[in-house]
Structures are given as structure tokens and as C-alpha cells.
Symmetry: C2
Subunit: 642 residues, 2 copies
Amino acid sequence: MNNRSKPNAVVVDTAHSDHATLQPVPVSSVRLHDDFWAPRLETIRTTTIPTQYELLESTGRLDNFRRAAGNLKQPFQGLVFNDSDVYKWLEAAAWALAAADDPALSQAVDTTIELIAAAQHADGYLNTYFSLDRASERWSNLRDLHELYCAGHLFQAAVAHVRATGHRTLLDVATRFADLICDTFGPGDDQQHGVPGHPEIEMALVELARATGEQRYLKQAAYFLDARGRGLIGGSAYHQDHAPLREQDRLVGHAVRAAYLCAGATDLYAETGEPELGRALDRLWRRMLNRQMYITGGLGPRHQGEAMGADFELPNARAYAETCAGIANAMWAWRMLQIEGAPTHADVMERALYNAVLPGISLDGTAYFYVNPLATDGAPEPGGKIYQRQPWFPCACCPPNVARTLATLPGFLYSVSSDTVWIHHYAASQADLRLGDGRSIQLLQRTRYPWDGQITVEVLTPGTFALNVRIPGWCATEPEQLRPTVNVNSIPCPGEVAPGQYVELRRTWAVGDSVCLHLPMPVQRVSTHPYALENSGRVALMRGPLLYCLEQVDHPGVDLRDVILPDSVPLSATYRPHSLNGIEVIEGSAAVAPVEMGWQESLYRTATSTPTVRRALDIVAIPYFAWANREVGAMQVWLRRG
Amino acid sequence: MNNRSKPNAVVVDTAHSDHATLQPVPVSSVRLHDDFWAPRLETIRTTTIPTQYELLESTGRLDNFRRAAGNLKQPFQGLVFNDSDVYKWLEAAAWALAAADDPALSQAVDTTIELIAAAQHADGYLNTYFSLDRASERWSNLRDLHELYCAGHLFQAAVAHVRATGHRTLLDVATRFADLICDTFGPGDDQQHGVPGHPEIEMALVELARATGEQRYLKQAAYFLDARGRGLIGGSAYHQDHAPLREQDRLVGHAVRAAYLCAGATDLYAETGEPELGRALDRLWRRMLNRQMYITGGLGPRHQGEAMGADFELPNARAYAETCAGIANAMWAWRMLQIEGAPTHADVMERALYNAVLPGISLDGTAYFYVNPLATDGAPEPGGKIYQRQPWFPCACCPPNVARTLATLPGFLYSVSSDTVWIHHYAASQADLRLGDGRSIQLLQRTRYPWDGQITVEVLTPGTFALNVRIPGWCATEPEQLRPTVNVNSIPCPGEVAPGQYVELRRTWAVGDSVCLHLPMPVQRVSTHPYALENSGRVALMRGPLLYCLEQVDHPGVDLRDVILPDSVPLSATYRPHSLNGIEVIEGSAAVAPVEMGWQESLYRTATSTPTVRRALDIVAIPYFAWANREVGAMQVWLRRG
């Protein structure tokens, strides 16, 4: 598959890392044929990617490249970082091509790459904003003008493209630009000292180094990490320049920037194994996980500066939780997971994929959330906006980011090490994997996950190796009959199968051997740390990896804020094949306690212990990812326990 | 007292309005001699105003006037609206001079007015930013550059100055500038169509019309109100240009701008009595009161855009609640109160004065809060800031705004109508008031308010007139013995004395007659509307008009977030003369329930009903206005009922 046109650089088809225990597998090595992800990825390829391509054209993003190449006389259109949307789209398209043949898409990709290549300057520089009349302003404002950010997305697209298609056309463009960047920036006396105002290129340079074997790209990523936090771009937390990463104790500032930086730093750590960096990443991860993360896996509660918050600052209706920040969390978690296969990272990644990334796109694949509240009363925001997915944004970072992330999904199911296959995520699929020791292993997954926790992994290749199967952290420990179990050829796995671990199944496998995981999915009521005030006295409903919510359309005439869910009420799940492309809903007999009349004309009053008047209410909860796909209206994740 | 140098304009010493039932009284007509306000106003005059004067000098704000007058060759210093700080300071100084002789301050005022007058252009224009090299840019950006805002503060200072001192020096400057503004802006074909990006001049022009009798200033204020919300400055809610005020249904956008606009519109309504405007103001007021106001009387929960929030959006630790927005609410309430003497307006004004304005300044009068959280864990904000009053700010709107508001306080105790004295606020003081019918009435208030609800109003002038005494809305209705009572010469007032009303005492008074109000001040637990999620299951402690809070320094070793206050625990108030300049503290036996160990390493988990382990904790609550005057540390207003 690798059509290597240049002998001087090796292109490897995964992000193989020197100091990581796990190695990812190519996107093309896993074929999904499940009812959950496969149709979604098909929608991404056949609807999302084509409609986004049309938008890249109609919004002038592609014209900016034509203009930079001298083929159009008109002003630059849109925001300074608009090139990055084209690159993210290309990355999505490349991964989609890795998963399916699509001649029309392949043609669109080639055409777009030609546009890009034609806009590249002779010295390798490439950014359509800084072309023609602005050519002299190159690198003049690294903090705000996103040149290195756009470059990073170009590099990621190029690596995706070569891995997916074997063609080096975009990679050659990328390496020429990367070489210029390596020449330009660094600690040398003859070099410019600076770091990008928006992290991104760190991940991209490490990946470019992995793909090409060029160590200077790795060194360049290390430079950008090491020079950060020293005031070169003004020292603001928003731009992640407030402190060197190795000295930070928690994520602050712009959430996407913060998590992208950590993801890039984790990529570097995977290559260097530097203990201090590893300790910093672990520290930042734990604080994020235990103090700063939405139950969705989303990050960044603050509208102000699209920023991380204080510990336990997790407003619901006023959540920002940008879709890109949920993606960034998944990206970081994925990279952390590769280091040593710690199950917490897989748990967060799964949480974010289902509940922070997937809500970002409508079921029909044509509209996107930028901001992801966990509650809304359905009224317009105080400036007039209502929460509804939009077909595009002037700052359109989220739409192609969702597309590229979901298009990569087949590559997230597994990792490998020398003689082990790590099974992170479950979906009906066939995989053809290459162990670190070179052997090919074929596996078949049969499951209705995430709707059902019964999973069979059938081994199609004989041999002695280990399967490390993930027992998600969301599994219950009691009662006994709801504990997860693992059987190999119907024989129970010895020892305790605890939630939040990888169970190592090391043996000599015969063709047809099967591993059966039973991950019971009772409806779970989840509570939050008491310091997260808005969730105080409330529960969220989860089933398996999915977060649920109530929507107005299922509860006409009821103010969802008045719903009370007693702890004692049983809740059950039912599959509704014709709802929202097929979902398990959660049903139960709850109550509604309308706010007393006295509150209509007051906000504060002497506290009383008047019991509220309740009436019975049958509730129907749907997966949070599917909300706002029917009518615009109220939505509520956290329900009063009452 | 009125040293009128020009015969062509009348200067009246109060804001007498044509369509308002109540008329304010001069600041100088009330002499405070209580233990609460009088020492504070003394601190304002002897410490705050002098230190702010030094800061106006050291930060270049006065130099900007010297520069504009051609007496200093240097660039303009600071922010475009820095002139307004000088004007607000002047207003504070003027009101302080109305209350006390202070030759040094009088001299500083005169010197400052000379500086200002010297900077005025020949045509009346006055703004030091738009002088010299920027003179040609006048009125080029009404949305952002605050020219009309600064003009408004000049006019308010001028009115304060003439009312306090009788000198027209500043008033003459103001009217010359106001005349230019009236010539420049309006609906005429030869006029510029525009409105200010920051409301303020509306109030000021109405007041200038009241002080001078010039109706064109009133017309100009009406123009600025009527032209707003029609897109002349871009249509943003932040700038209050999203819709005409008469069509709005709630406050949105920048909180200070919104409430200043309403205050100005109320001033206009007081002059015109226009029914549509009155209905709009009433509608906006009710929504604010019942859905948007902090228990402090503060407004504007959002850091993003310093903005009003959605209904019930009242975060505590993440409150913005700018000091100026609390001031603006008090200003608006005061103006609404004059319309017809509705007690709700006096209640809000009292709430805001004690709990939103007063916290803005340190007890020693030298440091200020800009942002007013209702809780903090004492940790620095992400970004590094900690909640602590500061001696000044680059954008220093709040410090002189607090000073001018508190300096006006003697004028807030009473209003008059033709044959009635309205008593709004209680403080030991002597008043010499002039009724609408021209009679002089002298009254003496004896009370320890706000620490005690026993108030005696002694009538020192014989005659037939009414005293309308306010029964605050915070008074209790039960039990019986805690109901408010009113006696005249020891005879109980007939009929029910309900909280939230003015009791009219109309009779023929003899010298020495006395009214005794008994407003019992039990410690009250106050709860919030159930939709305000952060306060769910919590109470705040109030006593009389004062909100209370817990501070870390009084509870060493306790995480205040763990404090639980059972409903059954009795709470008592004790006066501590040596604490925080003398305060009533609230004490009781509460409990502390430290967060269980399991939460240390998790943010979400399966909901359980495990009872928490509690230990007894004696709590001491202090008035919220006094917090952060000892050590920097945690603070909490809302306590778990548990």
C-alpha cells in the first residue's frame, strides 16, 4: 500500500513510538460492520465530508488557495486560520478513504492537494493569509495569527493521506514546509525564538517524524514545547504561555489549546520517555479527571476565553464545553493510553467519544454543535441564540474536527505490543492486525455494543499471544450478577474481573477460539463530587458508556426542571429501532413537582420545609449524543433525586 | 446656599421631577450621627477621597487635563474613558462637602475644576483623549470610545457640585458641553444620528435639565433613549443597542450598561410620565427582581461581557457581579422608588447598598472589589488571581463609583411629597426637610440600625403632615412576636403592619411626638427559587437587611464547603464591638461533614445513599460586606441545609 516515491524517508503506517508500550494500528486494518459506528462513518463519508467540501468552496476557503497560487484576484476570505479547515477536512477525507473506496472523494482529495501544492511558496512556506500583499508579514505574530497551527493541521493531513493512500503528494508539501519551520525556529542565534499561540504543531511534528523517520521534526516539536511558558508570546494562560508545561499543576486557559498541548507533549513523551514530562502529564491528567471534566468527557466550562475552570466549576446550562475540547480530551486520552495501557485513559476516551464528540454532529451528518450545554430550558440565550446545531460557523473549527476524529475511529479499537493485542473499544468488526513481533493476527468482534455488553471476540489466527481485553470502568461491582465476566471458550476467566482494567488472556490460540465478555449494562444513577454545586442532590443516568438526558419533546407540558427521580424508582432500558436511528431509551416512573406558586414572583424567601406537591410522570431518557435531533426545546442531564 | 452667577438658569438643589410622586431631598439636609454610616462616610471623606485624588494624579488622569489644556507635553495616559474617573471623584468630593466642611478637599475640588475648565475647547467640547492630535476624531466612534459617557459623568459632577456648594464653575463647563452635544446629536438632517455605547448621559442630561431648567437637555436625553436599539451603533446587546428599551422584556448584555440605561429611562419617565416607557420599566424591573438578581442586590453573573445572565443564572464562586452593577441597581431602584413610593424599590435599594455596594470597599476605605463572588475556596483563580480588594484598577470605574454613591447616602434616607415625608432608610440622624408645599420639617432618628430594628423618629416641627414609614420587606410575618410594629407616642398603629409597605401616619404632630418602629431582626434562613441550581438545598443567613457569610479565618482547619446547617439549629446574634469595626455576628452549632475519602480521586460515581459522617462545628457568620478584611481565604454565603 505504501507507494513510496522517495527512498530517503521511510513512511510508516502507524504512529509507532519508541517509549510507548502500546502501538496504534492502521485505520485501514479494522473494518467496522456494526449498527452503531459503521452507519455513522458511512454518513461521515457520504454526507458530512461532501457537504463540508461544498462549504469549503462556498465560503472561499479553497479560493484562498487559488488566490495564493495567483489564480484568482480577490481578497483573502474569512478568518486567518481558515486554511486549517481545509487541512482538517483533508484529514477526514483521507481516513475515510482508508476505510472505503470512494473514487469521487479520492478525486476531490487529489484536486484539493493540487490547490494546496500550487499555493506553496518556493521556500516551502504555505499559508494563504500570508501570501501576496501579506507575504512580508510572515511569522510576525505567532501568538494570534495561527500560522504554525495551520501548518500543524497540514502535517496531520499529510500523514493521514500518505498512510491512507500511500501517495506522498501532500507529504512532500508538508515536509518542505516543516523543513522551513525547522530552519526558522529554534534556540539558535540565527533562528527566530517563538512558539505558536495555539498548540497543534507539536502533535503534528511528532507524527511527521514518525511517518518519515526525520528526527529533526521531533527536535522541533521538543523546541516548541520547551520554549513555551517563558513569555515569548506574552505569557497569557489563554495562549498556554503562562508557565512551562513541566511546571503546571492543572489545565488553565483556553481548553482546546490546553488539551492539544498536552496531547502533543504526550506524543513527545512517547518518543523520549523523559521522566519529568511524564510526571507533569500524569499530574495534569489526574487533576483534569478528578476536578475539571464534565460527565460527558467535555472540557472547558467557561464561555469567557473558552476556558478551563476552577476545580469543580461545572455549570450545566452555562457550560461551554466546546466540541473541539471534547475531541482534544479524546486525543490526549488516546495518546496517554498508548504509554502503558492504563485503563483510565481508555475510559475517558470512550466517555468523550460517545458523549462529547458524537453530540457535536447531527444524526444526519450535516449540522454541528460548537457549545455543548448539559441543560437548557429551551428559551433563547440572553442575546437571542438558541441551542441548535448549525450547518457551519464563521470560526468552523468544530465541524471538520468531528469529521476527522470519527473518520479515525476504526484505528481506535485496538493497539498492539510485541506479542499482545489490546482491545480498547468494542464494535462489531473484523481486524487484521500486525503485532510488534511482526505476526499478523485476525480477530472478529461480534456485539451490539454500546447498546448491549455481550461481546464475542473470535480469534481467526492461531498462535501464542495475549489478548488484553478492557473491562470498562463504568461496569458495576455489585450486585454479584451484574459484575463483568470474561470467558474463553465458555470457561470463566480465573480471578476477579474488576471494572477499570485490562484482563490479560495469554495462551496458545486456535482458530475459532472465542473470548466472551459479559459487561452487564444496568441503568446507573451517577452522582457528582459534592463540591460541584449545580449537580448537588442530583443524578445523571448512564447505561454502559452512554450518558442519557431528558428532552422536552418526550415530555410535553412538563418543565424538565421540575422532574424528580426518587432513588427507589426502577429504570429499564428498551430498544426503539425507529427512534433517532435506533436507540436504547431509559424509562421509569418518576415524578414532577411543579414549582410552587409563591416562587412565581420571588427569587428569595424565608426557607421553609413545605413538602412539594408531586404527581407521577413517566420519563423517557435518550442518549445525550442524540439530543436536539427532533425539536428545539428543553433538555436536562442532571435530575433531582428528591 | 445657591450662589447663582447667571440669572438665565435656575439651579434647584434636588432632582425635582414633574411626574414622580416623591421628590428627593438635598444631601446636605440630613446629618448622620450613627455608628454605622457616619464613620464610613467620614472614612470616605478623609481617606478614600484623598487617596483616590492621589491616584488620579499618579496615574496621569489629571495630567491628561493638563495636557489637553496645552500645559503638558506628553501622550494621553490610560484608557479612553479615564476622564470619567476624575468626574466621579469630583462628584464624590462634592457630596462629601455637602455633608461636612473640609477646606482642603474644597481646595482640591476647585483646583480640579480649574484643570477641567482649562481643557475645554472653545466650542464647549471636553474630552482629554480627543484633544490635540486626536481632535479631528471627535464623535467618530460613539460605540467604543466613551465620549458621551464621560460627558455624562461631567454633568453629574457639575450638578453635585452646584448643589453642594452653590458654585457654578463646573456647571458652566457642563452646560457649554451639553449645549454642544444638543447641537450635534439629534434627529435633524443637519445633526449626527447616534447614541452612546455606554449609557450614562441619559441620567446626567435629565439631572442637568432639573438643575438648570433647560428643557433641551431633557429632549436630548429622550433622543438618546429613543434612538437606541435601532442599530446606529451596531446592534449589540453588550452596548444596549439590540432593541429599543420600550420593546425589551429583560435586561441583557453588559450589566452596568443595562442598569444605567434603565436608571436614565426612569429619570425620563419621572419627567414625562409616558405610559409605554413606564410599562417597559416595570416589566424589566420585575424580571430582574424575580429572575436575575443576586441575593446581594448585585447584577450580572457573567464574566463573559460582564453581562446579565439567563433567568436563574446565579453562580456563586463564578459570580461576576461587578461592584458598579450593584451601584447601578441601587441607582435604578432609587429612581423607581421616587415614581410612586413602591416599597419593593426601597427594599432592593437597601439590599444593594448594604450587600452589593458596601462590599466593594475595604473597611479602611482604601481598597476595592471589582468582582464580587458569593463563595471562594480561597485558591487562586485559574490564571493566578485571588479574590482580594485592590487599591486601584487600570479600568478604575468601581472605586470612585463607590465613593460617590456612599457620599450621596444622606440624601437617600428620605423623600418628600407635598405634605408627606417618606422615610426609606433608617440611621441615627437629624434631618431638615422641605415638603412639597414649602414647609420645613425637622426630624430626629434614633436607632442602632442596621444592627437593631428599634427606631424612634422624633418630630421636631409641629404641624399637620404625614410620615410614611417603611416596613422593610425582610421583616417577618410570623411568629406573632416577631412581626413589625409601629407606635405613635406609645400607641400602637391600628391595622396590620405588614412587611413591604409604607405605613402612612397622617396627623397633627406636636414637637416631641415620636414614632417607634419595632422591626424585629431574628436571624433568617433564606432559600432561593429551585431553578437557581447552585443554591439548591442551601440557605443564606440574613439578619435585618444584612446578608451574612462564613469566612475561613473564623473556622480554621475547616473546608467551608463541608459545613452543614441543619434547619433545627438555633442561631443567635451577638454584637462584637472590636470585630471589623463593630459587627453583629451570627453564631450557632452547625456541623461539618468532610467529603468522603472516595471522592478524593473521583468526580463521578454511582450514586449511593451513604449517610455522611458529621462532627459538630460552632460557626460564626459575619456580614458579607465585611468579608476579606482580615485574611485572604475561603468564604461561603450559601450553606447546605443537610
